[in-house]
């Protein structure tokens, strides 16, 4: 029986059906649900790795050890995993290995919109691109076969719209495969220059063979319509083309690296006008043009953002004029914000108040950059806060460093903050680093990590001692504070910023979505005492709002009584409901 599945669940199902027994990942939107779904199956191993590089390395080891292995991450995670990935492309596999890259055109939840099909060409990997959940399942199964047949890791490239759309899926049976034999083979797996030179020859041979495979594989197919226009497309964009241009001929590429040169040439010869529609980079277009084929692409469609059916219709179809009510222009924007009771809110309120330069990092707390908190100066990528604070200090001196903090979450610190902290100590920086420990990987939906003491299957394991780790790298000044205690937080910051030595302040309080504050406490605003100064609004919390007509603040039903705004009100107007 068919059922609805998001693309990510279908990928997990495909890996399970293909007989995969190992899956690794670091959570990252839009890829998170792949391995969390895989972990629900019996008789398989799944892990949240500390970061994508480790995920890739564990995956490589499992593959060399003979298991079919799934490795999943978001697009920028592939950057972290790139070092092992490029060389694993040389060694090839034993058990099949599929690496999923969750790309995010439109940056729904990301810091850039890089097109990871580029990795396919750069690292010499076959790349498959499914267009719905059924294909996500089927292509994942095929990818494992391809991986073993051509002795290569295979990249399955999906986008947010594929990963998080539910479409109908027919499940199949799992193929239980015996673990492949493992034999020591240093020439294949030890990448010394002498061995790697030999392996590079194999890589190039493999790419030629895969090019031949691409010509005939059912992954690439032509749907003939009118020959006036021929469209080459891949992934979810195929669905938009079918939606708005039902009459055209379509060459749908399920495999976008290597490309089927002859198939594309033959398609091009048979249509009057050839157009390539691909989100983000002209990966297909540039190759097709290099073969001397006349084609339109990026002169019609943007390099930026996510595509939509109406975008394609506007360029190539019969777009009906859409009436605009114009109301969307009248209303305020609604960017994401921290939840009521979020332990990060008090931190950014304090940093902003103290006028510090804040080198930020990736997580819910990146939202501390938005007004009214305005508590961040820079944020580049996972783990960048500590290194960039160190760089600021080396550029601008210790006085500037005494007004600079690095802010990083617990999961992000484990992911890639540790080595930068080692650098601070080793190269005699004086940075003050705040580790905002909320005991989870919150932004991606509360995944466990080494610091939570729980595995992906919610089984107890060793709990990484973050404080002990910080001490071990050589930081002498370590402070633990409650981020909801603003007086203590500010005093601690002042002390540590003034110290001409590295300091780490660990703020400890679990994510409010996990650790609900008991509903027994409630706050109200005393109308007599409230002077309408709006100071309480400076924390940017949806739990308190202001009524302009009355010039008074009022608590909102979403308040969880964290006790932050009462500490900010200078008139003591926010009071606990007694009893």
């Amino acid at each position: 029986m068919k059922k609805l599945m998001i693309g990510n669940a279908a990928i997990a199902r495909g890996a399970y059906e293909a007989g995969a027994t190992v899956a690794t990942a670091y959570p990252g939107t839009p890829s998170t649900e792949i391995v969390s779904n895989f972990a629900q199956y019996e008789g398989v191993y799944a892990e949240w790795s500390p970061n994508e590089k480790v995920a890739m390395e564990v995956g490589a080891g499992a593959s060399i050890g003979g298991a079919r292995t799934l490795v999943a991450m978001k697009h920028v995670g592939v950057n972290v995993a790139a070092d092992p990935l490029y060389t694993f492309a040389y060694t090839g596999v034993n058990g099949g290995l599929v690496i999923v890259s969750g790309d995010d055109p439109g940056m729904h939840s990301s810091q850039n919109e890089q097109d990871n099909r580029g990795y396919g060409r750069f690292a010499k990997l076959p790349v498959l691109e499914p267009a719905d959940s059924q294909e996500a399942l089927d292509f994942t199964r095929m990818a494992f076969n391809l991986s073993e047949e051509y002795d290569t890791p295979v990249m399955l490239r999906v986008t947010t719209r594929l990963a998080h759309s539910q479409t109908m899926v027919e499940e199949g049976e799992r193929t239980d495969l015996p673990l492949k034999d493992y034999e020591k083979n240093a020439a294949k797996y030890v990448m010394l220059p002498g061995h790697a030179r030999m392996r590079h020859i194999e890589v190039e041979k493999r790419m030629l063979k895969l090019g031949e495979y691409a010509e005939t594989t059912p992954l690439n197919s032509i749907e003939w319509g009118s020959k006036e226009v021929g469209i080459i497309t891949s992934g979810v964009v195929y669905q938009y083309v079918k939606e708005v241009l039902p009459e055209v001929s379509v060459l749908k590429l399920g495999m976008t690296n290597p490309l089927p040169q002859n198939l594309i040439k033959s398609f091009a010869e048979q249509v009057d006008r050839l157009i390539i529609i691909e989100e983000l980079e002209p990966v297909i277009e540039e190759q097709v043009k290099s073969w001397g084929i006349k084609v339109e692409g990026k002169e019609l469609f943007s390099l930026l953002g996510e595509y939509s059916p109406e975008m394609i219709e506007a360029k190539l179809g019969q777009a009906k004029p859409v009436r605009s009510y114009g109301l969307d222009k009248e209303i305020p924007a609604r960017p994401p914000l921290m939840c009521p009771g979020c332990p990060h809110r008090g931190v950014f309120h304090t940093l902003h108040k103290m006028k510090l330069a804040v080198m930020g990092d990736i997580g819910c707390y990146t939202l501390g950059a938005l007004s009214p908190l305005d508590g961040m100066d820079a944020c580049i990528c996972m783990g960048a806060s500590i290194g960039s604070a160190m760089g600021m200090e080396k550029a601008r001196g210790e006085d500037f460093a005494s007004k600079t903090v690095a802010v990083i979450g617990d999961s992000t610190f484990v992911h890639s903050g540790i080595t930068a902290l080692i650098d601070v100590v080793y190269n005699q920086g004086t940075s003050t680093v705040m580790i905002l420990d909320n005991d989870t990987t919150a932004m991606t939906g509360h995944q466990e990590h080494p610091g939570t003491g729980m595995t992906i299957r919610q089984q107890a394991t060793n709990k990484l001692d973050i404080e002990g780790l910080v001490k071990a790298v050589g930081v002498k000044n370590i402070r633990i504070v409650d981020p909801l205690n603003l007086v203590e937080l500010e005093a601690t910051l002042k002390e540590e910023l003034n110290r001409r030595e590295p300091s780490v302040i660990i703020t400890k309080r679990p994510c409010v979505l996990l650790d609900k504050i008991p509903n027994t406490v409630k706050y109200y605003v005393d109308e007599e005492l409230c002077k309408g100064c709006k100071l309480c609004l400076k924390v940017g919390c949806s739990g308190i709002y202001f009524i302009e007509e009355d010039k008074k603040a009022v608590m909102h039903a979403s308040c969880v009584a964290c006790g932050l705004c009462p500490q900010i009100c200078t008139f003591d107007a926010i009071k606990k409901v007694e009893g």
Binding site: L4, R161, Q166, M168, P309, A333, C541, S542
Partner: protein, 197 residues
């Protein structure tokens, strides 16, 4: 089975439970034998941002996202979100607005005003506008969190989904302990539109 496609846009604020509503509606469409696609929002926007979930069903569905000017129904969990997405509504489409105000950041920080009368503006522009107090109804049923299922009741009535199929889908999707409150919330929502239209 109807031959044309039904397009439903469910909009709201991250954390309001739009996903559950879309999953119930989609499940009903599956039960009725339609091809179904649902586009969801995960990740950063779920933290209090403007979110949109799209449900499409019919004989054959290609795109998981709805074109502007094509939605049969916009179901808004929050007032200004109805206005934000209104251009997606088709000419004779219906807007269902939950009379709930959630201040966005620019309002909290005093940089913008919340347009209190926005649902009246929508009603003046769109003939088929229904404004409901789903949160109050859910509270009367025993849990404010069931507001999304009150809205399922209204929506399913608006697009003519059979009551027994929706109840079946709710039983399949809503966790056991919350089921009773949710079933009550669904029935109350269903009644509401019968009275309004």
């Amino acid at each position: 089975m109807q031959s044309q496609t039904t397009d439903i846009l469910i909009v709201g604020v991250g954390g309001q439970g739009t996903l559950l509503t879309s999953r119930i509606i989609a499940q009903v469409a599956v039960q009725l034998g339609y091809d179904v696609k649902v586009s969801e929002v995960h990740g950063m926007a779920q933290r209090g941002g403007s979110v949109v979930t799209q449900v499409r069903y019919g004989k054959k569905i290609y795109s998981p996202i709805i074109k502007k000017g094509e939605a049969d129904v916009i179901l808004a969990f929050e007032k200004i979100e109805a206005a934000r997405w209104l251009d997606y509504l088709k000419a004779d489409g219906m807007v269902i607005i939950n009379n709930e105000r959630v201040n966005p950041l620019p309002v909290m920080s005093g940089k913008a005003k919340y347009p209190e009368d926005i649902h009246e503006k929508v009603a003046a522009l769109v003939e088929k506008t229904v404004v409901v107090d789903a949160t109050d109804i859910a509270a009367r049923c025993g849990n404010v969190k069931a507001a999304n299922v009150v809205l399922v009741g209204i929506l399913s009535q608006a697009i003519g989904l059979p009551v027994e199929e929706v109840e079946k889908a709710i039983r399949a999707i809503v966790p056991g302990k919350a089921l009773e409150v949710n079933q009550e919330a669904f029935r109350e929502g269903r009644k509401l539109l019968e009275q309004t239209v």
